[in-house]
């Protein structure tokens, strides 16, 4: 008989801390190959279509950046929450509210043009996302509600609110009844970075700046230290004089603002108007991005690109092989599953145990001993 046993490491393993996402990615590929084989397609060609072809040309890299930008923006904000042991699962809702509040200016003041429009819209978007995130923070600090549930449920509220807006009061009167707002004017459109090469817009730059800024905050600043202390040992945090309630607000407002910025960047950049659905689940996928990036903002940039690729790959296999693009969700799910599983290796090592020491095994049964 052989069995596996987890043995606690005396210190956390730096090696596996860095290696775990890669092992997880490898396992996802193996499991993905099995899935493709079961679907009756050659795994090798499927992987080529899924992972290689979507990024083989420059314009495709721009598409990758468009998908990665909101993922990274949201995930770096979430990484602060998760490090503080605060579970904001509602970034999708904050993303939507950011998009709605940011759109107030182009929807209600279409004649307002000039260089002020965009900065105002972005600011509104951040305020909208932060304000929406303040609801679960308030409920948690005031009434002790579980923020996982409240923030998650508020996602559906936001989605239905957006749906109602674009079908009702905010619908474009000249839109032939389509559920959408008017097209934003040119001042309200986030410019493309390199219009000749592809569609990627300033949203990707925001994402990179946010990642670097949050990295500095978390690794170099007292506030980041406060986040880490309260997250890892709240009692020690209280002893340090850090307030847990203040931290709940800080983490929710920060991540909400970044999700809101992602939301308004998405509608003013990639879409150009409000529609009933503006996100393929960025706010949820960003949770995977945050963990795959080890809650490290720089790791999150890499993880954001990988997860963006799963979206593009999903679209590619749908058009090339006729497989549902839900396959993207399957890949994302497997990735999160494996990355959380592999994280066990950071604190434990696996030991293969053969037969236990024979002299112990040879002891008589307890009943006889009695």
């Amino acid at each position: 008989m052989m069995r596996l046993e987890l043995v606690k490491r005396p210190q956390r393993s730096m090696l596996f801390s860095a290696l775990s996402p890669f092992i997880a990615f490898g396992l996802t590929i193996v499991a993905g190959a099995i899935m493709f084989a079961l679907l009756g397609v050659n795994p090798l060609s499927a992987f080529r279509i899924y992972f290689i072809e979507p990024i083989s040309q420059v314009w495709q890299l721009h598409e990758l950046a468009i998908k990665a930008a909101p993922l990274i923006l949201i995930a770096v904000g979430l990484s602060v929450c998760f490090k503080a042991n605060i579970w904001n699962i509602g970034a999708e809702g904050q993303f939507i509210l950011g998009a709605i509040v940011g759109s107030i200016i182009p929807v209600f003041f279409p004649q307002f043009e000039g260089p002020l429009v965009l900065p105002l819209m972005l600011l509104f978007g951040m305020v909208g996302g932060a304000a929406y995130a303040a609801i679960p923070a308030l409920l948690k600090t005031r009434f002790g509600t579980n923020e996982i549930l409240t923030s998650l449920m508020l996602v559906y509220v936001a989605q239905l609110f957006l749906d109602w807006l674009v079908r009702g009061p905010w619908r474009d009167p000249q839109g032939h009844g389509f559920p959408q707002t008017i097209q934003f004017n040119d001042s309200a459109i986030l410019p493309e970075l390199m219009p000749d090469a592809g569609r990627a817009n300033w949203g990707f730059v925001f994402a990179l700046v946010a990642a670097v800024a949050i990295w500095i905050l978390m690794s170099r600043m007292l506030k980041g230290f406060e986040v880490r202390v309260l997250g890892s040992s709240p009692r020690a945090g209280r002893f340090a004089g850090f307030g847990l309630n203040r931290m709940v607000f800080f983490a929710f407002l920060l991540s909400g603002a970044l999700a809101g910025l992602a939301g308004i960047s998405e509608v003013s950049g990639a879409i150009g108007q409000l529609q009933p659905v503006i996100s393929p689940g960025y706010g949820f996928t960003a949770i995977i991005v945050a963990f795959l990036g080890r809650l490290n903002p720089l790791g999150i940039v890499a993880a954001g690109l990988v997860l963006a690729l799963t979206y593009l790959g999903g679209e590619a296999v749908q058009s090339a092989l006729g497989i549902s693009d839900k396959v993207a969700r399957v890949f994302q799910g497997m990735l999160l599953f494996f990355v959380l599983g592999c994280d066990t290796l950071i604190h434990y090592r696996i030991r293969l145990i053969g037969l236990a020491a024979p002299k112990l095994e040879a002891a008589p049964k307890l009943k006889e001993a009695r």
Binding site: V7, K8, R9, P10, Q11, R12, R220, M221, L222, K223, F225, R228, V229, S232, S233, R235, A236, G237, R238, F239, A240, G241, A357, K359, L360, E361, A362, A363, P364, L366, E368, A369, R370
Partner: protein, 521 residues
């Protein structure tokens, strides 16, 4: 005495070894316990006593070695198996549900489906026959620590064990309660039962144990008859060398010195149904003196510490005054800025964040008081300044570690405690409040910490030490007050204090009554 000790071996352990990662917690331990003896297992914290006992009780599996029970090799795979063999255990930390009655708690652990009323009757009979009176109908939450221990002992006895393992049983008892326990243990011995008695208190081991096995760094360093040893010869065996005695120069001119910490009518309602309310506590700690607070664990010391440190604020700002100013409305950061420093009881998770480096743990309590030195403009941490300050403390307190700046959890308890105390001493605080300064710390490190606290006081600071260790309080305090059930007695000058007087107060003798006995004593 050891009349019933007939020499037949009940339990024999040969070459028992347990390895955790790189640490060999028990290294080829040999032990043998005869029928009808009280056998002491001596050793400092971290010597491997708990690991050994956990293997005997089946909660840990040894890596190698043999266990013989009545001469037969056995494998103890679970606590259930240990109980079936006839091994019972009373843990240092109780596992009782506070919202249930004593009888219900006992029924839960027996798990044999017998009705609670019959268990209660049995428990009552047993408790009286062993001189451990216990009301099985009482709620555990209402009981004192000593009474809770009785439940654990009765629960263990109901399973009619032949070997009873007691882990540091007197650490939560008053001297008088401990005397009662010793009577019970002697009674059990006279019935032919064996007892494995784990302790680091040498006087009580000398008093009740027939034989002793001494562990050091996981190895057996000797077997002896404690009655033929002196306390200092036993200590030498445990520690491996002589421990430097703490020197306490007499405090001078204290009466006229200003009170740097002044607690007036401090009252606190219980935060949970099972926490202790603080009732009208008054205490003054003057510059230059060390005041000790004795008391059985769980009598409000934790609540008191939280209130004084500012982790919990007071409604009446004047109920805690630091250096002559009201501090009751200030947070712990505000109180630190007034010159106070605090060392909590729990090292990992309260005094230090386990997974953070020592330098980060330095920042934990000093980010505000040393804001200029450690935090630059815009909230950036000056990590090199923090690092060199941490190294300074490590050197001053002789903190032993395996890496230049290890995680707090990687240090032994004693070394981490030296760092945490050193972190505060390094500030030269004018008020220092320490809860259990040397709990779980080896003798050498404990002496170092105690000496440092005395020196801090003599250099003009006010030092308040909360401790369950009476020896420690008598060693370092200029006066000792006793906390019982959320009330604090008047401090007794050390010249007048005796173990007996303090013990009476710890047991809850009415303050007035206690003073009366003190006057007549």
């Amino acid at each position: 005495m050891s009349a019933n000790h007939d020499g037949t071996t009940l339990l024999e352990v040969r070459g028992l070894t347990k390895i955790f990662g790189t640490l060999t917690a028990c290294d080829h331990v040999d032990l043998n316990i005869a029928k009808g003896e009280i056998h002491a297992l001596l050793g400092e914290n971290g010597a491997g006593k708990s690991t050994l006992v956990k293997m005997l009780f089946g909660s840990l599996e040894p890596n190698s070695g043999e266990i013989f029970w009545n001469g037969q090799a056995v494998r103890i795979t679970s606590p259930g198996a240990a109980k079936k063999l006839g091994i019972g255990m009373v843990f240092q930390h109780f596992s009782l549900f506070e919202a249930l009655t004593a009888a219900e708690n006992i029924a839960l652990s027996l798990d044999d489906g017998s009705p609670i009323s019959s268990i209660a009757a049995k428990a009552r009979a047993l408790s009286y026959s062993y001189g451990l009176p216990l009301d099985p109908e009482s709620l555990v939450g209402d009981l004192s620590v000593g009474e809770r221990q009785r439940i654990e002992i009765i629960r263990c006895l109901l399973q009619t064990p032949q070997l009873i393992i007691l882990d540091e049983p007197t650490s939560v008892l008053t001297p008088q309660e401990a005397d009662k326990l010793f009577e019970t243990l002697e009674r059990l011995r006279s019935e032919g039962k064996s007892i494995l008695y784990i302790s680091h208190r040498l006087e009580e081991v000398k008093r009740i144990c027939d034989r002793a096995t001494v562990l050091r760094h996981g190895k057996v360093v000797g077997h002896c008859n404690p009655r033929q040893e002196t306390a200092s010869s036993l200590a030498r065996m445990m520690v491996g060398n002589e421990v430097k005695a703490v020197v306490r120069a007499p405090a001078e001119g204290i009466e006229t010195a200003p009170a740097l910490l002044d607690i007036r009518a401090l009252t606190r309602k219980p935060a949970t149904p099972f926490s202790i309310p603080l009732k009208n506590i008054n205490l003054r700690v003057r510059a230059g003196e060390v005041i000790g607070i004795a008391g059985v664990a769980g009598n409000g010391q934790g609540e008191f510490f939280e209130s004084v440190s500012g982790e919990v604020l007071q409604q009446d700002a004047g109920s805690v005054r630091i250096r002559g100013k009201d501090a009751g409305g200030l947070t712990i950061t505000g109180r630190r800025l007034m010159g106070a420093a605090f060392v909590p009881e729990e090292r990992l998770g309260h005094g230090a964040a386990p997974r953070m480096k020592l330098s980060e743990n330095l920042l934990l309590s000093r980010h505000a008081t040393d804001g200029k030195a450690f935090v630059g403009s815009g909230g950036m941490v000056k990590s090199s300044a923090v690092y060199s300050a941490a190294q300074r403390i490590i050197e001053a307190m002789d903190v032993r570690k395996s890496a230049p700046d290890p995680e707090a959890a990687a240090l032994s308890g004693g070394n981490l405690q030296k760092f945490i105390v050193g972190r505060e001493l390094d500030r030269r605080p004018s008020v220092m409040v320490v809860n259990q300064p040397t709990w779980g710390v080896d003798a050498g490190a404990a002496a170092h910490i105690r000496q440092a606290l005395i020196e801090l006081a003599r250099s003009g600071s006010a030092v308040l030490v909360i401790s369950q260790d009476l020896d420690e309080l008598f060693e370092i305090s200029d006066a000792i007050a006793v906390m019982h059930n959320g009330e604090l007695s008047k401090p007794l000058p050390i010249a007048e204090a005796t173990f007996e007087k303090i013990g009476l107060l710890m047991g809850g003798a009415e303050p007035g009554h206690a003073e009366h006995t003190l006057e007549t004593a």
